[in-house]
């Protein structure tokens, strides 16, 4: 059909590297476990069901190297198993308790318990504790395109003055992707949509054909954009940039007017972890008596006040159907306006954090499934990946996008404000010193090589956008700040020892155990003069 609109959905799956084998349980590790049980496993089930039924869909998914590393880490895999089993026990206890004390909530307790049992079954029997297998399988069957993002999800504009380091973030990400998915990624998720002019040069060197941009990146370019955000542009070096559609994204993403705010949907913030007496819930929260979310949530959003009605899945399902219709209506309405003035059918780039679906928005995966099913029944809208579109439309306007991000204000303010900007003095210094070490001590072997490789890991982990983001939001600041300080302090151990031609082996052994991300890292990646490094500024 001539005027068929395309939905170019990109889901970014990312978690910061959190792994603390030195503690039997560590609260922040729950971020990963909640994402696996509430988002990744249910998403895999949904996509596999669609595939099995022969429903067509094409979407792009990015998996961050830190997330891939954690998903394949035996210690975290074991801990996730414990997490599931603990929640299974809580579910069984809840079914009994609700049966006696709260019969209205019993169907919900049963629903959660069934989901946990399904997760356990899938995790062990289908994926053998490595859920990346499931996503790789979906790529092999032609349903998703897997792409990568920078090694530690660094907000790259704040490091643009360090070409070797930006190059290292991207080259390492590609290596990690190949290790986990056995093929080279063809696209790149720009962390936080943080783009600076010239970033595409690094992507081209790694054969990455496209990336996504914030909604304002094209309209604010130095030259006039011709097709708005309804078609990608091609940077002067040939790499494609897709700007996201803020209007359509906001129907889903907004915490003010987005679909997830509907009163019938499940309330995220009411959880038995906070509601039930301490003596009952204690075994399922964190020590010492730190109340946390358990995932057992029995209330609907209802309204702004504290009085919440019981969550009714059947009412929420009706809302999912309504919101599916509304979403497709908005797409068609938009297409009608845009088709009149555009020389080709529009391509809508919708870019989301994957964890929105299922975790934050409990019904989000059902909504996505419903949209995919409805789209499959129409001939005026199609799910198409960025690579599909580029193949079909190799001609694009040549344009250099503008500096931009999807953070508040549209630039770097979230990652460089009064709460967190102090970190850059230290992170930049560590980067400079890492580059200095790589130049002064190239191609080391044995202990020194391990020492320098660990230094490279620590610098990269300190660059993660997650720590300043968390500090900006004033949540978990103690942990975020301690992580930054630890990585930089660790790096300084290597720098100071190498300057004395020494290796601190006690530190090295412990640091390798604690921060074991990127096992194949080669610190020479930071050497701007190395033959293997193309980013010599």
């Amino acid at each position: 059909m001539l005027n068929r609109s395309s939905i170019g959905l990109i889901l970014n799956a990312h978690m910061p590297y959190v792994r603390h084998p030195e503690y039997p349980r560590f609260l922040e590790e729950d971020w990963l476990f909640e994402a696996i049980s509430e988002t990744y496993l249910p998403l895999l089930r949904m996509l596999n069901n669609l595939r099995d039924e022969g429903i067509p869909f094409r979407i792009t998914m990015s998996f961050s190297p830190t997330l891939c590393s954690m998903l394949t880490d035996p210690i975290l895999q074991g801990r996730f198993t414990n997490y599931l089993k603990l929640h299974q026990e809580l579910g069984e206890k809840e079914v009994v308790r609700c049966g006696v004390e709260d019969p209205e909530s019993l169907p919900l307790a049963t629903m959660y318990l069934e989901a946990i049992n399904k997760n356990l079954e899938d995790y062990f029997e289908l994926y053998h504790c490595n859920i990346l297998i499931g996503f790789r399988d979906l790529e092999e069957s032609g349903h998703i395109d897997l792409i990568t993002t920078s090694a530690t999800h660094a907000f790259l504009p704040l490091f643009s003055q360090y070409p070797s380091t930006v190059g290292a973030q991207i080259e390492l990400a590609v290596q990690s992707h190949i290790n986990h998915f056995k093929c080279r990624p063809k696209g790149f998720w720009v962390p936080e949509c943080g783009y600076f002019p010239g970033l595409e040069d690094y992507l081209k060197d790694e054969e990455l054909a496209f990336f996504q941009l914030s909604a304002q990146a094209l309209v604010l370019a130095e030259e006039p954009v011709k097709r708005g955000n309804y078609a990608p542009v091609v940077c002067p070096n040939g790499v494609f940039g897709f700007a996201r559609d803020f209007h359509l994204t906001n129907l889903v993403w907004s915490n003010v007017e987005g679909y997830p705010t509907d009163p019938e949907y499940r309330e995220f913030y009411r959880d038995i972890g906070y509601d039930l007496p301490m003596d009952y819930i204690k075994p399922y929260i964190h020590e010492p008596e730190v109340r946390v979310f358990t995932g057992f949530k029995y209330h609907a959003i209802t309204g702004k006040g504290p009085d919440k009605v019981l969550y009714k899945p059947e009412l929420a399902a009706r809302k999912v159907a309504d919101h599916t219709k509304n979403f497709l209506y908005e797409i068609r309405k938009k297409g009608k306006d845009i088709n009149k003035i555009l020389d080709r059918p529009p391509f809508y780039t919708l870019a989301f954090d994957t964890e929105l679906f299922g975790h934050w928005w409990f019904e989000g995966i059902d909504w996505l499934e419903s949209v995919i099913r409805k789209v499959a029944q129409t001939d005026d809208i199609v799910f198409e990946t960025q690579l599909d579109y580029m193949e079909r439309n190799p001609e694009a306007q040549v344009l250099q996008p503008a500096l931009s991000s999807w953070g508040a204000g549209g630039y770097a303010d979230v990652w460089a404000n009064g709460s967190n900007v102090w970190i850059y003095r230290h992170v930049h210094k560590a980067i400079e010193r890492m580059e200095e070490l790589a130049i002064r001590f190239p191609d080391q072997t044995s202990l020194k090589q391990r020492f320098l490789n660990q230094a490279a890991r620590e610098v990269l982990l300190a660059m993660s956008s997650d720590w300043p983001f968390i500090m900006h939001n004033d949540t978990f600041t103690t942990y975020a700040e301690s992580r930054i300080r630890d990585h930089l302090g660790n790096f300084n151990v290597v720098y100071e020892n190498m300057c004395k031609n020494a290796v601190n082996t006690e530190w090295l052994v412990k640091a390798e155990k604690r921060n074991s991300v990127f096992p194949d890292i080669d610190y020479n990646i930071f050497n701007p003069h190395s033959d293997r490094n193309r980013y010599n500024g």
């Binding site: 978690m15 130095e222 209007h247 504290p306 919440k308 938009k334 204000g409 900007v421 978990f476």
Partner: protein, 245 residues
């Protein structure tokens, strides 16, 4: 801290959160008082984080905030053997400029103790100041305009206003001695503010409805709110002005 929607919490949850936030009277406070006190607390924190003159604009990407309060657990990751606390500054005379957005950059600097000693021995007293310069970068860097910012010896960072778009900026750290002589201590890297075509060609948007629809229909919410961006706001302001004119 609570990330969003504290109005939705039950009284017992609010009390729990308040106790964790250090409010001693939480157990006897009623719901309204708890809400008011907590909101006040968060506003105070937000303003202390963002500082004066910088609009507080909460992020709409609620990622990783999976508990209602920051836990005060004993579980803090301890440093490994041999790890020293980070220094406040490094022993070098250097200034670094970081572009935050089209209108603001952040400068941080340090002055090496030996340079300080030299200064102290060469004059009775001296002060520091920053010179923010708009420059043209070519074979040789040419200063187009500049302004000075008085700073104290204790300062080590400053937010720098960037008044013009599409230009390069750099910041220099100077001392001024008791005789009024200025001396350059160090100069930063340059940063370039973005240049936007439609900021200087708003007439094209005014006269071409199709173009306006094409460019702006993907930048506004269903409720008509435009994406948060200072340059886009300026474009719209200019357009409004032209329409009024």
């Amino acid at each position: 801290m609570i990330t969003q929607n504290i109005d939705a919490l039950s009284l017992s949850e609010l009390r729990y959160v308040a106790i964790k936030q250090g409010l001693d009277d939480a157990a006897v406070m009623d719901r309204e008082d708890l809400l008011d006190t907590l909101k006040e607390l968060y506003e105070e924190r937000a303003s202390s984080i963002f500082g004066e003159g910088i609009a507080f604009s909460p992020s709409t990407q609620p990622r990783f905030m999976n508990t209602l309060v920051e836990h005060d657990s004993e579980q803090v990751v301890g440093p490994l053997p041999g790890v020293q606390p980070l220094p406040n500054e490094y022993a070098e005379t250097r200034i670094h400029l970081l572009l935050k957005d089209p209108y603001w950059a952040h400068a941080y600097w340090s002055v090496c103790p030996t340079d300080l000693q030299k200064l102290e021995s060469s004059c009775d007293s001296f002060t520091f100041f920053l010179r923010s310069s708009i420059v043209e970068i070519g074979d040789q860097t040419r200063e187009i305009d500049s302004y000075d910012i008085a700073i104290s010896k204790e300062d080590s960072s400053w937010n720098i206003n960037l008044p013009e778009q599409g230009y390069s900026y750099l910041v220099s750290l100077y001392y001024r001695d008791d005789k009024g002589n200025d001396g350059l201590l160090c100069q930063s890297n340059s940063v370039q503010t973005p240049q936007s075509y439609f900021l200087t060609h708003t007439e094209e948007l005014q006269t071409n409805d199709d173009l306006f629809t094409l460019l702006f229909s993907s930048l506004v919410t269903k409720g008509g709110i435009m994406i948060d961006n200072p340059l886009l706001q300026e474009v719209i302001k200019k357009l409004d002005k032209r329409m009024e004119g």
